[in-house]
Amino acid sequence: MKKHVSRRQFLGGLGLLGVAGAASVLPAAPARAASSRSAELVTLLDLSKCVGCGACVQACKEANAARYPEPKKPFPPMLPKRVKAEDWSDQREVDDRLTPYTWLYVDHIAGQHDGQPFELHMPRRCMHCQNPPCANLCPWGSCSKDARGVVEIDPATCLGGAKCRDVCPWGIPQRQTGVGLYLDLLPRLAGNGVMYKCDRCTPRLDQGQLPACIEACPFEVQQIGPRQEMEAKARALAAEMPGYLYGLEENGGTNTIYVSPVPFEVLETARAKGQGRPHLAAVGDPFENQTLLAAALVTAPLAGLAGAALRTISRATREADHD
């Protein structure tokens, strides 16, 4: 079945097919295979439907609680002094920003558009970029993207250096100190915990289940399905609303598309800013230059070989002239 699935359809599908058949409800994609664009799943969020009830946030917390960090305290001291511990383990209930214990929050945005007041609710979490800088630039390969378009951080190997957060244009991954591999290496000198973020409920996806937030939403704000189909749906929805799109082109393209009746520039101005609260500004392709340079990297050795050939020929000619 290659259709997108809403919560109701999904539950209906479960009833009909039984749990074993549920895997076929989500488009089959080799779970851990390398990325191939056509198999990627996209989530589409219709913001005109979201009432900001927070059921998705609650469902995320319940579904993923077993994977939350349980740090050992006191934390080992870190050098140099400027390296600060980031500890959210005593503030697990925070739900107005992203933390290692809050992989999804709802941004409540109120303002004026076209002379009319508006109030809009926007679930925020990792965008699951198509060419994710967090995964591309992770020095240890701890952050990766799979064929379903899921970008995940492996808590067993992440050292918590937070490079993923630095290179993510939205600063999504959040650090918890006092957990992870760094404790077994050089806890004073390198690393600072583990980074956490939405991984589209990978354990649930692996079993053919929907991500918890999609399933829990009473208003079917989110849909998930193959890229091409979701893109077409997003455009159709935007035309019908009429609305605006965010996520389709951002950061080189993401697998999360928001459709909003209010322009995102207006939402960006109106939203409450702060750490752990991703922005809504336009984001260009961060690897534009690298993509251009990749061609130079392929040509460089050829140029070198051509140079060698020219040198050898001119040397041979010189020697022949001498003789």
Binding site: R32, A33, A34, S35, S36, R37, P80, R82, V83, Q130, N131, A135, N136, L137, C138, P139, W140, G141, S142, S144, K145, D146, D154, T157, G161, A162, K163, D166, V167, A190, G252, G253, D285, P286, F287, N289, Q290, T291, L293, A294, A296, L297, A300, P301, L302, A303, G304, L305, G307, A308, A309, R311, T312, R315
Partner: protein, 151 residues
């Protein structure tokens, strides 16, 4: 190698290797932590996108010069390498291979599996450190033999 390399070529090679080493180290989140980026004029060392781009540029120069040397050596049909040099050549080959896989991963249509990604990333780092170690060994051996030859 039939002829000593020109001054400019040697300098360019050394510069490319230095830029690769610094921008490569800069891929780990250490320059900010250890105050390097606080030094005047070195703030860029903590910008991962800048060091990443420098790594690409330096790699292009490095690849061209390595290919030039390899091409000339093959054309002269006289490849006399010591065991240390063979090891260095193998390590550089590994660095180039893992480097290209990383470039592929960063392309909009590219990508590797989680396992491959980890092997390649850590492999690139280990090989870079191994090359540094081998270069140091080579330098020490050369110094010893020159001091032995000196009157």
């Amino acid at each position: 190698m039939t002829k000593p390399r020109s001054w400019i070529e040697r300098r360019l090679f050394a510069l490319a290797v230095l830029a690769l080493a610094i921008s490569g180290l800069g891929q780990m989140p250490i320059f900010k932590r250890y105050y390097i980026a606080d030094l005047p004029g070195l703030a860029w060392t903590a910008d991962f996108y800048v060091t990443h781009l420098i790594h690409y540029l330096a790699a292009a120069v490095f690849l061209a010069l390595v290919a030039l040397r390899v091409g000339e050596a093959l054309a002269s049909r006289r490849v006399h390498l010591t065991r240390l040099q063979w090891t260095q050549a193998a390590v550089v080959a590994g660095l180039v291979l893992t480097g290209f896989i990383r470039v592929w991963k960063n392309l909009p249509g590219g990508g590797v599996t989680k396992g491959t990604g980890m092997v390649v990333d850590i492999g690139h780092l280990v090989l870079a450190m191994a090359w540094g170690g081998l270069a140091l060994t080579g330098w020490i051996i050369r110094r010893r033999s020159t001091s032995r030859l000196a009157p």
